[in-house]
């Protein structure tokens, strides 16, 4: 059964355990590929983790001039191949989710590859293993997409371009506003 990342970012407490966990993954050269962004710095402590969304048609790979970004058989979009990547940063700019980074000194792109060395052997990725609040979970792809515990998103429509992602995001509960913002709030100045 294919498993994917499920992110319920309402649960995130911004502890950055996932960032540290990611650094510890064996193939990652102590560079974290996970992001924890503060959503409204100075106003709230709301934070959210973002791994690669593992798009079905990845803009990063399509924009790469040297075809350095490979897609594994199970759909995991891998970091650029060390031999091919020329550090041009096209992928960084093309990705609608803001994921790939480029190391300017080593001239190589790096991004979340779902700890492929672990997940390809059935083990959960480091971020999911260390998250203390279960914000990041490694779950069955079919199950989370067909019977989600709450509203989820894995299809994105940008002006008619539909991008489907394998990573699934749990939407915040804005109906009752128990965790989210009220209508009208949350505009950053």
């Amino acid at each position: 059964m294919a498993k994917v990342l499920y992110i319920d970012y309402e649960r995130c407490i911004g502890c950055r355990a996932c960032v540290i966990g990611c650094e510890e993954c064996s193939g990652h050269d102590h560079l974290s590929r996970m992001f924890v962004d503060e959503l409204n710095p100075g106003e709230t402590v709301a934070a959210s983790p973002t791994p690669c969304m593992h798009c079905v048609t990845p803009a990063c790979a399509e924009s790469c001039p040297v075809q350095a970004i490979a897609i594994a058989d199970d759909g995991t979009v891998l970091s650029a191949s060390l031999e091919k990547c020329i550090g041009c940063k096209n992928c960084t700019y093309a990705c609608p989710f803001g994921i790939p980074r480029v190391d300017d000194v080593k001239k190589v792109m790096y991004k979340c590859d779902m700890c492929y060395d672990r997940t390809s052997k059935g083990r959960p990725p480091m971020c999911a293993s260390v998250c203390p609040t279960d914000t990041i979970r490694f779950v069955d792809e079919h199950e989370i997409k067909s019977e989600p515990p709450k509203e989820v998103q894995f299809k994105w429509d940008f002006g008619g371009t539909v991008i489907e992602t394998r990573t699934v995001i749990g939407m915040p509960d804005t109906e009752t506003n128990r965790y989210g913002f009220r209508e009208g709030d949350g505009v950053q100045s």
Binding site: G27, E62, Q67, G87, Y93, F97, K107, G180, F181
Partner: protein, 367 residues
């Protein structure tokens, strides 16, 4: 990956490949013609290599054609060539040629061991290529001009003379042995690293990695054995070794355009990149205002994505997601999913979710 063809015209690839292959063949033919002085100095012993080399050039041309038809590759080539025509651009290119290909500094920054290993292999292979191609295509040959003096003739033009058993002559005759030794050292280091360093790098598979190394070692060893046989074994087994060497080289030449060695041509595009990044006007993120890219590159990426039917616009605005820095892209998605308004301070726009997980201009707001 996405199933759209690179170009609207489905025959474009075939047409361009046919044209490019034709050009390459004509150039090759004339270079052989001139080099061998109207086929006067044709080295028949290298006949098999000649055909494999020609085939290798043809395959490589087809592969390069298909590669450069990809929209992002095409853009980068075009920009690079355009920028190269300025003095500043040219200076960049030479500087990067040196740091990137000559010294390969970026690999040294990855690790010293890796760098040493790569320098041995890459320079060994590049020089071997240079020597092999110039001999096989008859661009270069040696003529006995005096009983004890050779002249090196390049494209029919005598370049220099040397004594038959001068140091220079020995260095040159054994050129392929020296490069072969470098390759063997490099490959040995690479093998050692692969065997001892159990850390699995996900971007490369074992098969992909070991076969090219074994192939290079096989070529270098059989090549050096030819010299050993000729110098110290009175030519014993020479024919068998020559055949084995020829087979390994031919396999290499045909495998080259479709293998790990393909990254060799790719590296030449890397020479354009620092110039591409330094010479454009900086662009500010539409939300936070930091300078995060050059305007040219963002345009190029947007064009390439559009050609692949992968544009990611922000609805009812002229902006795309690539007009934001990476962090603002991530944060905007999250804020809009919370139902919050997202203020693009720099562009002076207020956005909200388009209800389909993308962003749009806030209803009632104006651009």
């Amino acid at each position: 990956m996405n199933f759209y063809p690179y170009e609207e015209d489905s025959l474009l690839f075939s047409k361009k490949s046919a044209r490019n292959v034709f050009i390459v063949l004509v150039i090759l033919f004339f270079s052989v013609y001139i080099g061998s002085e109207q086929f006067g100095y044709f080295d028949m012993a290298l006949y098999g290599y000649l055909w494999a080399t020609v085939l290798c050039f043809v395959l490589l041309t087809i592969r390069i054609t298909s590669w450069t038809l990809r929209p992002p590759t095409r853009r980068l080539w075009k920009q690079g060539i355009k920028m190269m025509f300025s003095a500043k651009g040219l200076a960049f290119v030479f500087k990067t040629l040196y740091t990137n290909i000559g010294e390969q500094r970026f690999i040294r920054n990855r690790s010293g061991y890796r760098w040493a290993q790569h320098m041995f292999i890459s320079w060994g292979v590049i020089f071997s290529f240079a020597i092999t191609f110039s001999l096989v295509l008859n661009w270069l040959h040696f003529e006995l001009v005096e009983p004890k003096t050779y002249a090196a003739v390049v494209f029919g033009i005598p370049m220099f003379r040397m004594g038959v058993d001068s140091l220079l002559a020995i260095a040159i005759y054994h050129g392929l042995n020296w490069t072969g030794i470098a390759v063997i050292i490099g490959c040995g280091m690479a093998l050692y690293r692969r065997v001892t360093d159990e850390k699995k790098i996900v971007e490369q598979s074992k098969e992909y990695d070991f076969f090219p190394l074994f192939l290079l070692i096989a070529i270098s060893i059989t090549g050096s054995l030819l010299t050993v046989s000729a110098l110290w074994m009175e030519g014993a087994f020479y024919l068998g070794i020559a055949l084995a060497h020829q087979i390994t080289v031919i396999v290499f030449l045909l495998y080259f355009p479709f293998s790990k060695f393909w990254h060799l041509p790719l590296r030449f595009l890397a020479v354009m990149v620092p110039m591409y990044h330094a010479m454009g006007e900086q662009k500010q993120c539409a939300r936070c205002g930091i300078e995060y890219a050059t305007a040219t590159q963002i345009k190029d990426v947007q064009l390439a994505l559009e050609k692949r039917h992968l544009s990611v616009p922000i609805d009812h605005t002229t902006l795309h997601f690539s007009d934001l820095c990476s962090q603002c892209r991530r944060v905007s998605h999250r804020l809009s999913a919370y139902g919050a308004k997202v203020h693009f301070r720099k562009a002076n726009l207020v956005l909200e979710s388009n209800e389909k997980n993308g962003l749009q201009l806030k209803k009632g707001g104006d651009q």
